[in-house]
């Protein structure tokens, strides 16, 4: 590991400070930027996008400790992420990937049959999703459904008195809310009762 990747609370604190002077807001910005980096690596077909996003932050933090002047943290992170992506591809070319290297749950499945345990897990996921959908307000739940059917989204936006882009983002935020609820339920099965 290079000196640039040296982690430390100083580097991380500097990174947070770059994102926002308010610590709480900085935490939110950090999480948003992390999501964007994960998405970037995912769209670039990386199997471990979370690891690469964290690696980007580690390296950016190292640069800050070294005293590098950064004007636009988003653009700087993108530059670092691009470098890390190239390194990642180079390392993949050197080391032929093996199925056993794939993260759990991402192995290509040769068997079209699911095991009983997998069926049970899927059933539980559906129950959690159903429960979380129930937690949304009636209007939000209906919007998710109407938008998903997709017969006429532009008209739906006009009826709601807003633009298609706004409705699209609103629906995305509802899905995110739902995703967080489902994740919370899977971490603590007692959080909900069917």
């Amino acid at each position: 590991m290079s000196g640039q990747e040296a982690t430390g609370s100083d580097g991380f604190n500097s990174l947070l400070l770059m994102l926002d002077s308010n610590r709480e807001q900085a935490g939110i910005r950090y999480e948003e930027l992390r999501q964007r980096l994960i998405s970037y690596f995912r769209h670039r077909e990386c199997l471990t996008p979370e690891d690469l996003a964290d690696k980007t932050f580690t390296r950016v933090s190292g640069k800050l400790v070294e005293g590098e002047e950064i004007r636009n943290i988003g653009a700087f992170c993108f530059g670092v992420a691009r470098m890390i992506l190239k390194e990642h591809w180079t390392s993949l070319n050197k080391q032929p990937s093996s199925l056993t290297d794939l993260p759990a749950g991402q192995e290509p499945s040769c068997d079209p049959f699911r095991t009983e345990a997998e069926i049970e897990i899927e059933r539980q996921k559906l129950e959690r999703m159903e429960w979380c959908l129930d937690q949304l307000g009636d209007e939000d739940r209906q919007l998710l459904k109407d938008y998903s059917i997709g017969a006429n989204r532009e008209h739906l936006a006009r009826v709601l008195g807003t633009t298609l882009k706004n409705v699209r983002v609103k629906v995305h935020r509802l899905r995110e809310k739902l995703k967080k609820c489902v994740e919370a339920c899977s971490r603590d099965p007692n959080a909900y009762e069917i």
Binding site: L33, R36, E45, E120, R123, E130, D146, R175
Partner: protein, 322 residues
């Protein structure tokens, strides 16, 4: 590079949409992709919009609403990548669950004249494919309910007629038996005997009319071996079994009900389609209760594809008590 023309590029929002879809389906040049990435990595609103379009694209794919070329690109450039599997699975579950929501009291009116270009040539100009599918499902459900009701009433009438015929026969037998007894005792004092013409009261058993219900989840019933237990009485006409389907990826299903202890018993029904119920997708079969004996039953749900491939999707079991 020209972006995919997914929707009519009548506004800047559509152009953004086309660019995002082109990026997601790997149709941008490396330079264009980097510019696009730089934009969404430094602007959270742009990132949220990209995420929203990605989710919309997945849902449109799962609902079979993508035009052929885009659909093909989606399959080759997006759906086959393991890192996208989680998003697709999430969308699948969301569609399954949200489609089972009850219909709203006052649906938002969707005008067909403003639909995506690909929908405008639809033969019924006032009916979108999604709405046409909904109408077809409703008509199908009503037909199934009416047919079910008709079959139930017809069966009940047949059972009642059969019971009446049996009772009449039994009454005739008793009458003959009584007459023969009277013939053999004709010399005896009949003061204390009932009048030969006096009708004998016969206890008529009530015809079976009730429907017992049983809901089974695939291979997951816990507790006693033998799965769920259901108890039938002489007044139960039908056993209605709802099979929860957690693998909805087949074109149709075949159900076979068997008794491990009796190889002669075999009830099967083919070409069934699941419907949305309280627990998600459900397939319902009705068994005539009077033909069922107590014991363990196993149900095999076979999934069939249009290509002719078949495989056991789920197995269920229950114990019948009488």
């Amino acid at each position: 590079m020209q972006h995919l023309e997914f929707v009519v590029q009548s506004s800047s929002a559509d152009a953004e949409y086309n660019e995002a879809v082109s990026y997601l389906l790997k149709q941008l040049t490396e330079e264009e992709a980097e510019r696009f990435e730089e934009n969404y990595l430094s602007d959270h609103d742009a990132f949220e919009h990209l995420e929203a379009i990605e989710e919309e694209l997945i849902e449109d794919y799962l609902r079979d609403q993508l035009p052929g070329e885009i659909r093909e690109l989606f399959e080759t450039q997006y759906a086959n990548r393991p890192e996208n599997r989680e998003k697709i699975d999430f969308a699948k579950r969301l569609i399954i669950c949200s489609d089972s929501l009850p219909a709203r009291k006052a649906p938002i009116h969707i005008s067909p004249t403003h639909g995506p270009a690909r929908l405008r040539g639809f033969p019924f100009y006032s009916v979108t494919p999604a709405r046409a599918a909904s109408i077809a499902i409703i008509v199908l459900l009503i037909s199934v309910i009416l047919l079910g009701g008709y079959l139930f009433r017809r069966n009940r009438l047949a059972a009642e007629t059969q019971a009446r015929i049996e009772l009449e026969e039994r009454e005739r037998e008793l009458q003959k038996h009584l007459e023969s007894q009277q013939g053999s005792n004709k010399n005896q004092d009949d003061k204390n005997q009932p009048h030969p013409q006096e009708p004998r009261s016969v206890q008529q058993p009530a015809p079976p009319t009730f429907i017992a219900s049983l809901r089974l989840k695939p291979n997951t019933e816990r507790g006693a071996s033998g799965g769920k237990a259901v108890s039938l009485t002489s007044s139960t006409a039908w056993l209605k079994i709802s099979l929860v389907v957690s693998r909805p990826d087949y074109d149709s299903y075949n159900v076979t009900v068997r008794r491990p202890s009796d190889s002669r018993f075999n009830f099967s029904k083919a070409g069934l389609k699941p419907v949305h119920g309280r627990d998600g997708l459900v397939i319902t079969v009705n068994l005539p209760a009077q033909t069922l004996e107590a014991g363990l039953y196993v149900i095999d749900l076979e999934g069939a594809r249009a290509t002719g491939e078949r495989e056991i999707a789920h197995t269920y079991q229950f114990t019948l008590q009488k």
